[in-house]
């Protein structure tokens, strides 16, 4: 029994593949396995580090999402800002034209777990619209599905462009063109506003709508983080939480950023079923620009909670290289996928 106990002891403290002896002692203790007790499967003495980052130990999904099959990748969505097809109208105003195709698509939201999504252009979240305050936005919505859909923008527009039933909705097989001036500047949101609303939003019809101030902002590495969730078994509770749809995506493969470089993240909450989501970054604080509608920060903090459709712009800089987690501080969301990390180089 003695050797068995010792073996358990060794496993528990992360000393891999050795049963006593000098080799084990020099092997040292792998520090991060403490985080969840460093439990290893009995057959898994070797601890295959290539399988997944050890920092998360046994507490993760198994396998990998096929982003190519999904047709979009969370790593690309992060920095994929879409300025549309740009032209200038007779009055010299910048016009940005987009085509959004509403299409049903099964997407893999965690390795091997498929969700029957409703999408704009085959991706969840939909394209990140990027414009400057005062630009004219023209978006043609082509509805190829069997349900009516719409695009409701958080921003200024006329009543006919509101994107709700009867005011700017594309019925099944039809199209509608939204036309408005981008304002006010800030980090905004668009989503389908067809009823029933929970269904149309939760199934994936939403995205970021970012309007820059005319005077611009300081140079920074910009990112879009859409906090969302998926109720895969349709019981009114989410089984998956994430930013940009794929559970644990940025934990499996952290977001690489440079130290001492200003980071600017547009963080949006479009989670259904849970009234509040949040973001917390480790070992750092951020400047919070509420709804991104001001040039001066409103707050200096490391955790911010957001109700549904609330969104903020946050800015931070990491002075040291290293691995830093960020995640929801609704901890149950962490366990279900909303866990991410920065790899500061």
């Amino acid at each position: 029994m003695g050797s068995l106990d010792r073996r358990r002891f060794l496993k528990r403290f992360g000393i891999a593949g050795a049963l006593g002896g000098a080799a084990a002692v020099t092997h040292a203790v792998v520090p991060h396995t403490h985080q969840n007790g460093g439990i290893a499967l009995a057959q898994d003495d070797g601890h295959d580090a290539t399988k997944r980052p050890e920092m998360h130990g046994g507490h993760m999904v198994v396998g990998e999402v096929d982003h190519a099959r999904n047709g979009f990748s969370p790593y690309e969505i992060l920095t994929d800002f879409d300025g549309g097809e740009v032209s200038t109208d007779t009055r010299g105003r910048t016009v940005r034209e987009y085509e959004f195709v509403a299409v049903n698509k099964e997407i893999e939201v965690a390795p091997g777990v498929f969700f029957p999504a409703w999408t704009y252009n085959g991706r969840v979240p939909g394209p990140t619209i990027r414009a400057t305050e005062g630009d004219r936005i023209r978006i043609q919505l082509v509805n190829t599905t069997e349900h009516p859909h719409s695009i409701h923008f958080h921003g200024f527009h006329t009543s006919g462009m509101d994107g709700v039933p009867g005011q700017g909705e594309a019925l099944a097989g039809e199209t509608f063109t939204y036309d408005f001036i981008a304002a006010p500047f800030g980090t905004h949101l668009y989503h389908c506003h067809t009823l029933p609303l929970v269904q149309h939003i939760h199934r994936g019809l939403y995205g970021a709508f970012i309007v820059d101030p005319k005077q611009g902002r300081p140079e920074a590495n910009e990112m879009v983080m859409v906090m969302n969730g998926f109720d895969t078994n349709f019981d009114g509770e989410n089984e998956i939480y994430a930013i940009n749809s794929i559970a644990f995506a940025y934990a499996v493969k952290p977001i690489e950023i440079e130290r001492n470089a200003l980071q600017r993240a547009h963080v949006l909450n479009i989670t259904e079923f849970d009234p509040i989501n949040s973001i917390h970054i480790h070992a750092n604080f951020f400047d919070l620009y509420r709804t991104g509608t001001s040039l001066e920060p409103d707050e200096f903090t490391d955790t911010i909670s957001m109700g549904q459709a609330e969104r903020h712009m946050i800015e931070f800089t990491y002075p040291e290289a290293g691995h830093f987690m960020f995640h929801a501080h609704q901890t149950e969301f962490v366990d279900l996928g909303w866990l991410s990390a920065f790899e500061v180089k």
Binding site: R8, R12, N36, G37, I39, A40, L41, A42, Q43, D44, G57, G58, H59, M60, V61, V62, G63, V109, A110, P111, G112, V113, F114, F115, F230, T232, N233, D235, E239, A247, F248, E332, D335, L336, G337
Partner: protein
């Protein structure tokens, strides 16, 4: 008529017998090959998984799972207490009725619940709750011994003690013998209801293998088996009528006790039952009366059966508890449970019939004393059964 004769002359008998089978074969091949009604199936698959056996070791959990639904199931992820967790699985794609093994390294805590959720490819979550986590006993010498001891305590000793009522019964007047026979019938009637209820509950757990069907096969098989055994003993004049009936009762009770051992063993193994003093005491009281039931038909015998017979009766009625505890503790599955409980129910029903028949030969009308005996049997079982629940 002439054409019929001509036909039968042209086709040998075996061709006619095989023809429907061949047609069924062709039909099956067509259905499987062309799938003409495939489009009629609703698109969302019905995904169902049965958790057949859960084994908890220090810091790890092993699950034996079986697809008991109509459609294939692909396990994509595993949730433990609402958190995605690393796991290993032998085969994540489970065809209909296929079984596989899934292992988790999880630092579960003694006595606390663990909910395991299998997330399938389509996002369905199939939950299984371990009500109170506890180490699963391993089939080593000491646990086998403990389970055997458990069987001895709740099965063998109480039945043996109950047999000691024989000397008193042997000297009792005929009407009191009838009273105790009626008592036995009441007692067995209670056990019958109890066994059927538990068997049907297990049958629902074993839906994949049509648990109700297994239960029915077990019970009808037991009835037929005991009828055959009884007529065999009768032909051979293997024993006196009283002794024969005593053995039949012992067998029925033994089969019931096998089920009882199975239930207790598996409940302890699954952490659903704490093995407390009250439980053992309850079973002991409960089963002592079973001993009385066995010796009741010997009350009218001219001469005392040899002591060997008493040992035999005790073994037949009590020892299966040990076997049941082992099976329950180390190899339980609801499907086998349904069969065992079916057998027990059938055996008890048959024994009730035999005793009732023997009592009728006395040609006495149903006396108040007999009715009281029957009720007494029911009530005693009910009251002693309460101890087991406590």
């Amino acid at each position: 008529m002439t054409t019929a004769t001509a036909r039968s002359a042209r086709f040998p008998l075996w061709v006619g017998a095989l023809l429907p089978l061949v047609l069924v074969g062709i039909l099956t091949a067509l259905l499987l090959g062309l799938d003409p009604i495939g489009d009629l199936r609703p698109t969302p698959p019905v995904e169902s998984v049965a958790f057949e056996r859960v084994t908890l070791e220090r810091d790890s959990i092993e699950l034996k799972i079986r697809n008991d639904g109509p459609d294939p199931v692909t396990i994509a992820q595993v949730l433990v207490n609402e958190a995605y967790w690393d796991y290993e699985i032998d085969d994540r794609e489970l065809g209909r009725l296929e079984r596989t093994s899934l292992r988790l390294a999880y630092p579960w805590e003694e006595g606390l619940p663990v909910v395991i959720g299998l997330v399938t490819e389509t996002g369905v979550v199939i939950d299984h709750e371990i009500e109170a986590a506890a180490l699963t006993p391993q089939a080593d010498v000491s646990t086998v011994g403990v389970y055997a001891l458990l069987g001895v305590y709740i099965g063998v000793i109480p039945v043996a003690v109950g047999l000691l009522w024989f000397p008193a019964l042997a000297r009792a007047a005929r009407k009191w013998v009838l009273f105790f026979l009626a008592f036995t019938v009441g007692l067995l009637a209670f056990l019958l209801v109890d066994t059927v209820a538990e068997g049907l509950e297990l049958a629902t757990d074993a839906a994949a293998f049509d648990g109700l069907g297994l239960f029915a096969i077990g019970s009808i098989g037991a009835v037929l088996g005991l009828v055959a055994l009884e007529s065999f003993m009768e032909r051979r004049r293997a024993a006196s009528t009283g002794l024969r009936v005593a053995y039949l009762i012992a067998m029925g009770i033994g089969l019931h006790n096998l089920g009882e051992g199975l239930a207790v063993g598996s409940a302890i193994a699954a952490g659903e039952l704490a093995l407390g003093t009250f439980l053992v005491l309850g079973f002991a009281l409960h089963n002592t009366t079973e001993g009385l039931a066995i010796v009741a038909p010997l009350g009218g015998e001219q001469e005392r059966p040899s002591l060997w017979h008493f040992a035999g009766l005790g073994a037949v009625a009590g020892a299966p508890t040990i076997l049941g505890a082992w099976l329950g503790g180390f190899a339980f599955s609801p499907s086998w449970g349904a069969v065992f409980f079916g057998v027990a129910a059938g055996a008890i029903a048959q024994v009730i019939w035999v005793i009732g028949r023997n009592m009728r030969t006395d040609k006495e009308p149903l006396s108040g004393l007999v009715a009281a005996g029957f009720m007494f049997g029911l009530v005693i079982m009910y009251l002693t059964g309460l101890f087991v629940a406590a």
